[in-house]
Amino acid sequence: MTLVYSFLFCGFICLIGQIILDNTNFTPGHITTIFVVLGSVLGVCSFYDKIVKVVGAGANIPIMSFGNLLLNGSYSGYLEDGLLGLFSGILVPVSAGIVSAIVFAFIMTLFFKAQD
């Protein structure tokens, strides 16, 4: 059942993004930024974690999940290490994503050239 929810949720988020992209003169950069900040806002009341519980991995794929993970990292860092944790914990949950993106991008530059 989570498969169907994943399809609907992830598709719905992309649909909203596409509607914003078509009807305003925002660039894709604006849209991803809006979604990241929105994910953080939804994380304040742990609302996004509830969505992830119901929907499954389909809710981890949109970039909103990135904002939510940043907020969770900072908050749980505070619970563990106090004030220092606010700074040191913020990148912990997303470091796998950022590091893998950088590493794979670097590897790709060794093998491929830009296509015109």
Binding site: T2, G11, I13, I19, T32, V37, P62, Y75
Partner: protein, 145 residues
């Protein structure tokens, strides 16, 4: 010709994109990505016997790897042109922006080109994500602790 007439003319000559078709494409592609992600997560949990949280991270890493690879091979740009937000809003868009700016600026040198421009497109996600998350985390601490 006043400003209103000019704007009307501009509107007349800008190509009308098929909004409905774009929206449908984005919905279909985003939904398919979410569907595959959840299926992949279930398979990893079942076969590798690791917790759901780690399996989700593996799914993200697989998606980032595939997006980077397809960008390097050259056909991901065409897919993005067709499906637009269906590929930009999921994590694949993040990997695509980093890999494509890495490939574009490789010729300008390793330090000034690749190093300087790697986060040219993805920087806004990191900057505003971290700023928003930091201050909202303080708010959450004030509310709940």
């Amino acid at each position: 010709m006043n400003k209103k007439e000019y704007l009307k003319l501009v509107k007349k000559f800008t190509p009308k994109e098929k909004k409905l078709k774009n929206a449908f494409n984005a919905f279909l592609m985003g939904g398919t990505l979410g569907f595959i992600a959840d299926g992949l997560k279930c398979l990893i949990v079942k076969w590798a016997h690791i917790p759901i949280k780690e399996a989700t991270t593996w799914v993200l890493i697989i998606y980032i790897f595939l997006a980077s690879l397809f960008t390097g091979l050259g056909f991901f740009d065409k897919l993005v042109m067709k499906f637009k937000c269906g590929l930009i809003v999921p994590i694949t868009g993040f990997a695509h922006s980093i890999t494509s700016s890495a490939l574009d600026y490789k010729n300008d040198g390793l330090i000034t080109g690749l190093g300087g421009y790697l986060f040219r497109l993805a920087g806004c996600i990191l900057l505003y994500g971290i700023i928003a998350a930091f201050f909202l985390a303080i708010l959450k601490v004030i509310i709940y602790v």
